[in-house]
Symmetry: C2
Subunit: 336 residues, 2 copies
């Protein structure tokens, strides 16, 4: 009886341990490895009272690039897809656009020709589709598009194509007193429309490429803001630490990116005192997502590229490279 | 014995009531009146579950002008005093400035001549004293100055000249789930140096007039940001709602100001749906602080003025005017 009880107890204890280990794992979609360990060690070092690297709660800032770091950026940034959609809508109201470049090319749907558009062409498209309307109208338009637009590969809304392991990191950091920010090269106003629902990140914690607005009054005397074609912050490359200073005013303790567009944010974060976490996501998983980067050949996104030099800087500066293929148990929440 | 007990009990009960009324009063430095009632009614309407004007916690944003709303702005904005101090420091390093305008005038100490400096002169002074150094150096310089600089009338650090009734409003709103922001015409980087210590408002909740920064590396390869003479946001007048959109991305539910520089922020706040609180502080207390505004003659600060038109707009639009003289039991924490 004693022996039997012992066996039952041991089994129950083992079960309890397993279950408790699972319940206690803040990053269940991560495989055990250097990347997962780096995140957990960083959180423990900076949030355990008495730790020499303890960080006061008010100072706990973590910044995340969005496209390619929190969600899929292939084959095209979602915001570019939105702009192309808006060109369609605009052309319905102003048919003369059909004969004007660069709109004619966009409307042709010829992906090869679209791929050859110049930066000047893109600026014209951005100005036509992202400015001139009220802030409220813009938010409503983006919301409408997000409700119906689908990613061509997964046939799901873009908002479902966030990386489950990164969602876990966001929640884990917040549970430990970190304020999580998006610091994106994408449009600040665009990302703010869905960041709260998709990532639990409120608009005031989204830093992005930002244009000016203009205050005015409607016919009834009610004030409103109009989006202006005036660039205030290009939140890429050096613009990321500059944007962090403008919008947050503190150096992050942790930063996550995936391209040269994030290089300076990672450098700036890592250059602070105490424990700092800089992580770089390597897309090396063509089966579950995409493969691009030093091992897979380079890709020029016109904004950021994962180059060999970036990979080398990561190794030299103590950043941690996350291998999507090896470090992630699953990529999306909808996978079982 | 019974009668005596009854008297003792009644007295104790009365004392307890008085003490409890005091302990429960979130705004003890305010006299009972329309202004205090407006604040309390607003908080109750927007934070009581089931109230038709209930506001979700994430949406609770309150914005405060700083100079003249949270602390004394007379006889000169503290930041202007700082810039003049820095001209002194600069002239020690570069004696040739003593013969160059507008620095010569500032160094003369001739208040009448200083009062006649043009906006162009001021821009030169601001560029020379607020830009060209690293962000870290600037913060250290401001901290040093704040530790020794005194207001000419009270002979106290500027950081002690905050209005105690407004400190109570900040705490009361935060205790009810509001995120409190400073939205100031003053320099964002300047105010961020002390806002956390003085108001409990962290750097990321300070919106102000902001210049660009430039990312670079020191000789050891360590990255740092340099303050640039490039204006990104003039956070006055229409710049206040524009700055709120840029930095917060939500319309405030409550806003506090004291001049035409705050007009558009108050209009924008009040134009939102549901319960919105817009309050305008009238400086009508020459004894305890200063008197300026429609009843006392106008004052042109080059940035904001409390005009008759502003007073009229307040009355028409349902803003609440706070009379410093009548609504405040005490002005500063150091008063008994």
């Amino acid at each position: 009886m004693y022996a039997k009880n012992l066996i039952v107890s041991s089994t129950l204890a083992a079960l309890a341990l397993t279950s408790s280990a699972r319940a206690d794992d803040p990053l269940p979609s991560w495989n055990d490895g250097a990347a997962k360990q780096a995140i957990i060690a960083f959180v423990q070092a900076t949030t355990t009272q008495g730790s020499p690297q303890f960080v006061a709660p008010a100072e706990r800032i973590a910044t995340f690039d969005q496209d390619g770091t929190l969600w899929v950026e292939h084959p095209m940034y979602s915001q570019v897809m939105y702009c192309f959609h808006r060109v369609d809508v605009l052309a319905k109201a102003k048919p003369e656009l059909k004969n004007q470049q660069p709109f004619k090319t966009v409307l042709s749907g010829d992906l090869e020709a679209i791929g050859k558009l110049t930066m000047d062409d893109l600026v014209k498209i951005l100005a036509a589709t992202l400015t001139g309307m009220s802030v409220d109208q813009f938010q409503a338009d983006v919301k409408d598009w997000l409700a119906t637009a689908q990613h061509p590969r997964w046939k799901r809304p873009y908002t479902e194509l966030t990386y489950q392991p990164m969602q876990e990191v966001l929640r884990y950091l917040r549970a430990n007193g970190y304020k999580t920010y998006i610091v994106t090269g994408g449009g600040q106003d665009f990302v703010r429309v869905y960041a709260e629902q998709v990532y639990g990140i409120p608009p005031e914690q989204v830093v992005g490429t930002a244009g000016g607005t203009k205050y005015g009054y409607d016919k009834a005397g009610k004030p409103f803001l109009t989006k202006e074609p005036k660039l205030l912050l290009n939140d890429n490359n050096a613009g990321k630490p500059e944007g962090i200073h403008l919008m947050i005013g503190r150096r992050p303790y942790a930063a996550f990116g995936n391209s040269t567009g994030d290089q300076q944010m990672l450098e700036y974060t890592k250059a602070g005192g105490g424990a700092r976490l800089a992580m770089l996501l390597l897309h090396d998983d063509a089966d579950r997502e995409y493969a691009y980067g030093p091992a897979q050949g380079l890709r020029d996104t016109k904004v950021g590229t994962f180059t060999q030099a970036l990979y080398d800087e990561a190794k030299t500066n103590g950043w941690t490279v996350i291998s999507m293929k090896n470090d992630w148990k699953r990529v999306f929440a909808f996978e079982q």
